[in-house]
Every structure is written in C-alpha cells, then in structure tokens.
C-alpha cells in the first residue's frame, strides 16, 4: 500500500489505520507470544493465574527438546518428506497448470472445479483409504507412502495457484516460440517456464508449508522410523503439567526451520504474490 493510499483520508486516518493493524497483528500473535513465554518458564510459573509476567527465564526446556528428545531425527524426517513433496508436486503441477491455462476456458473451468472439490475433502476421509492402501502394500512407516499421499492431497492447491500465474503469460509468446522453431516442450521449457518462476516459487513455498505442517496423515501413515516433527511434538503434551513447558518449547522448535526458510525466501514470496495481484 502506498503512503498516499494510507493517508487518503488525511494523516490522522493513516495513523489510525496503522494502529488498528498493529492491534490486529498483536492479537493474532498472542498465541505465539504465549508459547514463547511458556517455553521459557518453569511449569510452576507457566500455570499461574493471573499469568506471571516477571519470571526467571530458563532455556532448560528448549535444550531438552533439541538435544534430549531426538529432535534432529524428526526434523530430518520432516524435511525429507516436505522437500520431496515439493520436488514432485511443483514440476508435475506446473505441467497441469500450463495445460489448463492454454485450453479454452470452458474446458479448463470444470477441471479446476473438480480439483478444488478434491481439495475440500476432509483429511480424515482421505487418511483412512491411504492407510488401508499402505497396509496392503506394506508401505506403512515408509517415506514414499507419506510423500505420495502429501503430493496427492496438495496437488489441487499447487495446480490452482500456478494456473493463475500461467494465465498471465500471454499466448502470443507460445505462438512466437512456435514460429521461431520450438515444439510444445521447448516452448514450455525455454520461454514459458522462466517467466513462471515467481508463481512456481510461491507454489513451492506453500506446498512446503502445507506438507511440513501436516499432522493427520503423518500420524496415520508414519511409525517409529519416519515420524515427523508435528507428530513427535504432539506426544510431548498431555495431562502431566510439567510437560507443558516442554510442549511449548517443542512448538517453537518446529516453527524455527520454516521461519528461517521463509525469511530467506521472503523476497521471492512477496514478489510472486504481488505479481499475481497486480495483474489481476
């Protein structure tokens, strides 16, 4: 938003809007802040009502999470699964998205609607058939099973996301490439794909986020060997009060790798999202 737009109703309106946005952001961040504070408190401090603001912080629980609970093994599993999901779903999704952007809208519309409907299925509904298939194929607690399941359930979203970006690339470029000597694959690879990079980056990051955070499928399809972080951290909680600080530390621990990745790739994410928005 430009400064001009912010001050459209005058400087006071601009400041008012800014303060309102700060308040909304703060409210949304409260659970996160709570988790951070809880992870730094001893259990006794964590459960006082009213909440203790002044306390003696401790890094004990963070240390326990990272070094005494196999955190790195679960993190590795999570990264293997989520990065593989992205590596498979984004390229395949880009083929589908490109094709859908080039066929007549009246044909593409129903296909996109079907994809979207699949996306709306509750995960609970889909987890069971995957579990049955996995048991039958003896693939429970294996990376391929979870990766394929995540690719399947995230694909509609990645296709839909990239479809919008491919639509923005003018068809004239495909035609110019055809006249210049490209067959369909060459036109896609050399001319179209480089221009779709912002869209593919956004799709990759969203796909990474969705697959990294996936809990239900991971719970159902993994075991001791391939357990991912969300499943592992969930077991830190429970009725034992003293485990809550550990749980909070675990939650922060899960977030950190993704936050680091997002911060590094923030520029690409913003560029990709706003490029789509401006062109409409």
């Amino acid at each position: 938003m430009s400064n001009h737009a912010l001050t459209l109703g005058g400087r006071r309106n601009g400041y008012g809007l800014f303060l309102a946005l700060c308040l909304v952001t703060f409210v949304n961040l409260v659970p996160l802040l709570w988790a951070v504070l809880t992870s730094l408190k001893h259990p006794a401090d964590a459960f006082t009502i009213p909440p203790t603001i002044v306390f003696e912080p401790t890094l004990d629980y963070h240390r326990k999470v990272w070094f005494e609970n196999d955190f790195f093994r679960f993190l590795t599993n999570s990264l293997i699964v989520s990065l593989s999901t992205v590596a498979i779903s984004v390229p395949i999704g880009s083929f589908a998205a490109y094709a859908l952007s080039r066929i007549p809208r009246r044909s593409a519309g129903p296909i996109l609607s079907v994809l979207f409907t699949i996306r709306m299925f509750p995960h609970m509904l889909l987890a069971i058939p995957f579990f049955v298939m996995g048991t039958f194929l003896n693939m429970i607690d294996s990376y391929p099973l979870l990766i394929l399941a995540l690719v399947a359930i995230n694909q509609p979203f990645t296709v839909w996301l990239m479809h919008g970006f491919f639509l923005d690339i003018p068809r004239d470029l495909d035609e110019a490439a055809a006249i210049d000597g490209c067959n369909a694959w060459q036109a896609f690879r050399i001319v179209i794909l480089p221009l779709a990079r912002p869209g593919m980056t956004v799709a990759a990051l969203f796909s990474l986020l969705l697959s990294y955070n996936e809990f239900l499928f991971a719970l159902v399809l993994t075991g001791a060997k391939t357990k991912t972080l969300p499943v592992a951290i969930a077991s830190f909680g429970g009725e034992d009060v003293s485990a809550w600080s550990l749980s909070a530390a675990g939650a922060i621990g899960i977030m950190l790798p993704i936050v680091v990745i997002m911060v590094i790739l923030q520029r690409h994410l913003v560029r990709g999202l706003t490029a789509g928005a401006v062109k409409g």
Binding site: E175, I179, G181, P194
Partner: protein
C-alpha cells in the same frame, strides 16, 4: 521471396464460420495488405497462413509447396505480432537470435546475422537491453529484426502499428515500406486502418464477414470500388453514399430523402434506375452550376477544409483544398463532375458499369491527390 496461394480457405470455430472459402493469389515479393473492419476474418486468415490455426478446409501454398497442416516452424515464415511478443527474459540480441538457436546455428554465425539485422534496423546500441527497457517503437523494430533474421519466404504482420502513437505510426509505415524495398520479400500485412493499406500496399484485399469484397491496387480500389462497402471503406473521409434514383434524362439524381442533385453532364447509364450515388468528399467543387447546400460545420486542418453540408435532408461531407471562404450557416453551390461519380445498384450494391471516363481521357489523370 515466394509466391503465396490461398485456395478456398475456410475456417469455422465450432458452429461459427469465420472464413467462407477465400481465394487469394500473392505474387513473389508483393506487399499485400488484408484490410477490413473488426471481425472480418483478416487476422484469422493470417493465422491460417502462419499455421497457428488449423484450416477447416482449403489449401495454402508457399513457393508452390503445400503447407496446409504443417507446423509453423516448417513453413519458412516469420511473423510480427500486434503485441510484438518479445521474450521478456531475453536480451534484444537473444530475442533476435532465438530462431537461429533453435536451428542449432553456431554462435558466431548467429551473432553475425543478428548484427546484420540490427544494423538495418538501427538496433545495434540496444542489443544487450531487455524488452522492458525499450520504447514501443524500439520493441517493434526488435520484433521485425527477429523476423528478418529468419530470412523467411513470407513475412506476416498482424496489425504491428496499432499500439504506437500517431506520429510513430507514420514513421514506422515508411520504415516498413523501405524494408520491403530492400529485402523484396513477400509480405502479408493485416490492418484495420485503410490509410495504412493505401500507403503501403502493392495490392489490397478488402474483407468483410469472412468474404473478400475486392482485391486490387490501392488506386484500383479508390477509383473503381466494386461495391458500396469498398467505396465507403477506402478513402478518408468516407465517400458520401446516397440511396435514390437517376432521374429520366440522366441530368439529375433524386435521393430517397428528396434531395435533388443536378449533374454537370448527362449520365449515359443507370438512367431511371434505383441506385446508390457515391460522391467522394475530395471531388466536390464550388460551382454556380451545382446544387445548393447549407454549410453546417467547417473544420480546417491547415491544408484542407472539411465541410459538413446539408442538401435538403441529406448530410454530405466535402473536402476543399486551399482556404476557400466558406462560413458556417452560409448557403453555397457545389458540384461533383459527372465523370467522378460512382453508381451502385440499389439491390446488389455492386458497381454499375465502368466509371465513365470523358472521351479520350485516361482514368485518374484529373485525380486530385
């Protein structure tokens, strides 16, 4: 350089037929312009030649070879798009050399050809720039350069000047014409602008509703339009076309709105017939032997005076050269020489007879520019 033949080209999009069995013969090295209103099928025809659309039926031959059904890259054509279609992620040099890269031409030869084309089009200082760093006119030239580098048998232009401002358009028209003289390649050029067609073409194909209305040289179309559509389309301002009848004796014309136009000389054909009378604005002369008209509007352009006249209930446009003393609201007498009249049949809208040249006078010798 190659002749191009289009035989019975038909194109339908589902139930909608956009081209109805069109035939065009283009000579080797000719500059042919396809012109017509929006939706007439000219761009579709161009895309059929390029191979970007499949023909429903018919054939296209380039240099005697049937190219119907061939992929665009196998037709030996090059195209300049209305939007230029430059690859945004490649430099000007890479854009221009792209087709050679696809043909696996070695880098040194590629560079040589790109540099040669860049010199012709004055693009040498811009070779390392990206399309977004160029102006509209520069992008247009890069698009042409990309086409030239291919050294094709036929150049195809799809309304390339539409996105340019008026002044640049005039300049680029001349440049394209100059390029044609230099390269002598067959060109098929699509435009909706009849002035572009008139100034650039060796031959014009006027199209409407998927049919060809007339094919001819610019002056052919101007002097002898085959029907009222071509008559009204070619020439700016448009020809005045009045429905009515030639009075018995051939000495005057009575329009459907009751205006009587006296003729300078008796007409030898069309007498007593229901016709359309065509009067080009630039053929009007101030004459005491003419018919009366009230001046509604005077628009000076500097070199000319565009005058809107009311003759009875008929509204006419006239163009006078120089600066005659004509004031709005005044009543003047104007006439159009009989030999400059155009007559069309009322029912078929087709031209009636040959335009009567005065005896011994070659057509067009008295034409004003």
């Amino acid at each position: 350089m190659a002749p191009l033949t289009i035989r019975q080209a038909t194109k339908s999009f589902g139930a909608l037929k956009v081209l109805h069995g069109v035939d065009v013969n283009i000579e080797d090295g000719e500059f042919v312009v396809l012109v017509g209103p929006s939706g007439c099928g000219k761009s579709t025809l161009l895309r059929l030649i390029a191979g970007l659309e499949d023909m429903t039926s018919g054939d296209i031959l380039i240099d005697g070879r049937v190219v119907t059904g061939l992929h665009p890259k196998d037709r030996d054509i090059a195209m300049v798009f209305q939007s230029y279609a430059l690859y945004p992620h490649m430099t000007v040099a890479e854009n221009m050399g792209f087709s050679l890269r696809m043909q696996n031409v070695p880098p040194e030869e590629r560079a040589r050809k790109v540099n040669a084309a860049a010199e012709i089009l004055d693009l040498t200082p811009l070779l390392e720039r990206y399309p977004k760093q160029l102006s509209g006119g520069q992008r247009q030239r890069v698009a042409m350069g990309r086409a030239i580098v291919r050294d094709p048998k036929v150049f195809l232009f799809d309304e390339p000047l539409s996105n340019l401002d008026a002044k640049l358009r005039v300049q680029m028209r001349a440049e394209i014409r100059q390029l044609h003289k230099q390269l002598k390649t067959t060109i098929v050029y699509v435009t909706h602008d009849q002035i572009e067609a008139m100034t650039m073409a060796d031959k014009i194909v006027v199209m409407r509703g998927g049919h060809i209305e007339q094919i001819g040289t610019p002056l052919d179309l101007y002097d002898r339009p085959a029907n009222t559509f071509v008559a009204g389309f070619i020439g700016s301002p448009s020809m005045n076309i009045l429905p009515g009848e030639i009075d018995p004796g051939g000495l005057s014309f009575s329009s459907a709105k009751g205006t009587r136009i006296v003729l300078t000389q008796p007409l030898e054909y069309g007498v007593g017939q229901r016709v359309f009378l065509g009067l080009r604005p630039e053929d009007f002369e101030l004459s005491q032997d003419g018919f009366e008209a009230v001046v509604r509007l005077v628009e000076p352009t500097g070199a000319e005076l565009h005058v809107t006249l009311a003759a009875g209930d008929e509204i006419l446009t006239a163009v006078f050269h120089g600066r005659p003393d004509i004031e709005e609201g005044a009543t003047i007498r104007v006439a159009v020489a009989t030999r400059k009249l155009h007559l069309f049949d009322r029912e078929t809208t087709l031209r009636l007879g040959a335009r009567p040249a005065a005896h011994g006078e070659p057509d067009g010798s008295e034409r004003q520019s």
